[in-house]
Amino acid sequence: MKRFLSSMIDGRGFDIGLVSLPLAFLLTLSGLPLLYNIVMSFQEVDMFSLGSFWRPFVGLKNYRDLFAQPETWPILANTATFVAASIAGQFLVGFGLALFFWTSFPGASWLRGLFLVSWVMPGLVVGAIWNWILSGDFGVLNFILRETGLIDGNIFWRSDPGFSLWAVIIANIWLGTSFNMILLSVGLSAIPRDLYEASELDGANVWQRFWTITLPMMRSSIGAIMALGLIFTLQQFDLFAAITSGGPNNASNVTQYWAWDLSFRQYDFAKGATISVIMIAFVMVASVVYVRSTRHEVRG
């Protein structure tokens, strides 16, 4: 006992104690639910069996039922569109802004940091603001688009099935651009300046310098940011809850909202768990790519 105590205060035990307690906490509250999720996806769960662990085992029935539902494939397609368009928009706008703020002028870093407000705001507040901006008759975005002649009539962003998904994508691009921009700025500032001086002496113009120095040097940052973007867009839930609630008629529904909707609106916990398992498996693959691409940095 005494040896144990002195090890806790002054030896290996101190480190092991410090690290094992939080890991145990994480494994209980993230690892166990993860396993439980998989178990539930093979069970029949209803309001009556919700309270017991031993529920009827149904094999792959939940998975078969899920893919037999007519809305499953459109929702998966929506998810793909949402992820691809959000990442592309966030990355392009963020990269453009990062390149602009890379040219040093007084106040550049302060103004650049100001962009991050979108990232610290509660997702629901961002959703509420965009819900109002995108409103059909009185929304300010429709007004601006009309005045600049881009559209003739009002677009009903939230209730038109052709636009409702794009309404959320616009809000999500706004939300994620700043984060992309800050991380890309970090990557840009790590490129040695003398590379540019040397190529300037060799007579390379701005475009050539961008394609032959900036992009290749940024390859690992860009890879990490793409993977992070995938992870973050698949976590986006608040904007759907605040802008469209997945409507109209699932036109803007994506898997991460649908899983919640199935569990907590339709009380079909088994289906909710099933779709969660599929998506979590997908996110895990993405994060392995991310961890591998940043492994050198993480190890420090």
């Binding site: 890991l23 509250l29 639910p33 302060w110 507040v125 994060s287």
Partner: protein
Amino acid sequence: MSNVSRDRLLLAVAIILAGIYLFPLYWMYITTIKSGSEMFATPPTFWPTDPQWQIFGNVWQSRNMGRYIWNSLAIACGAVCVITVLGVGCAYVLARYRNIWVDIGLFLILMLQVLPASLMVTPIFVGFSQIGLLNYPRLAVILAIAAKSMPFFVVLVRATFMSVPQELEEAALVDGNSRVGAFFNIVLPLARNGILVSAILIFMQAFGEFVYSKSMIQAVELQPASVGLNSFMGPNTNEWNNIMAYAAIYVTPILAIFVLLQRRIVSGLTSGALK
């Protein structure tokens, strides 16, 4: 072009870009103080003709915002406490050693960081209801948020500990400090700022958390402000000035903290997240 005028031009462009980007925020504040009829005017006014300042007090009263904000604060403080107490030690050990076990621990933590809350809420809800934790819904939400955000905190704080020179700690050990003493007297004070900034970031996230609270807290008296805002926004609402006032009251403290600590937050975030 001379250097000074180039700088001025770039600064002007930068301010315009920032203005475009931050327009949604401006629109929130401007809509708040518009009257009911001005809000729906076409063309919309970009500067209110008749500012309605009393709206903040009215919305605070009628939506019972004091209670919502109090719940948000309680949840966020609870989550930050749990995360800091557990996460700091974990980050310290992961920063101090470099072997296969540390790599495995880091990998586990990075993998747990990416789990989407809206997908994890189903098993957490069912599990919590089975062990009776849902009778204490705010505690349940605090635990769920802590599990969700702790990996991010550990990654950020680990970067801070990496920048504390190990020689200082070794010197303290040579001088007769125990490991515990060296940790609390030398390492923690040196890493204080980084820990504080990370804790503030976690606090902001937890203050705006929505999925867990919406799913696990049924009683209106215990719901945080995000859930209150969600129930305020019905499908066909037209009280946009009131909703924006609610949003403004909710978000202004966070914006104030952010603008005050902007430099530290940005540098803390960039050092931890990608480097």
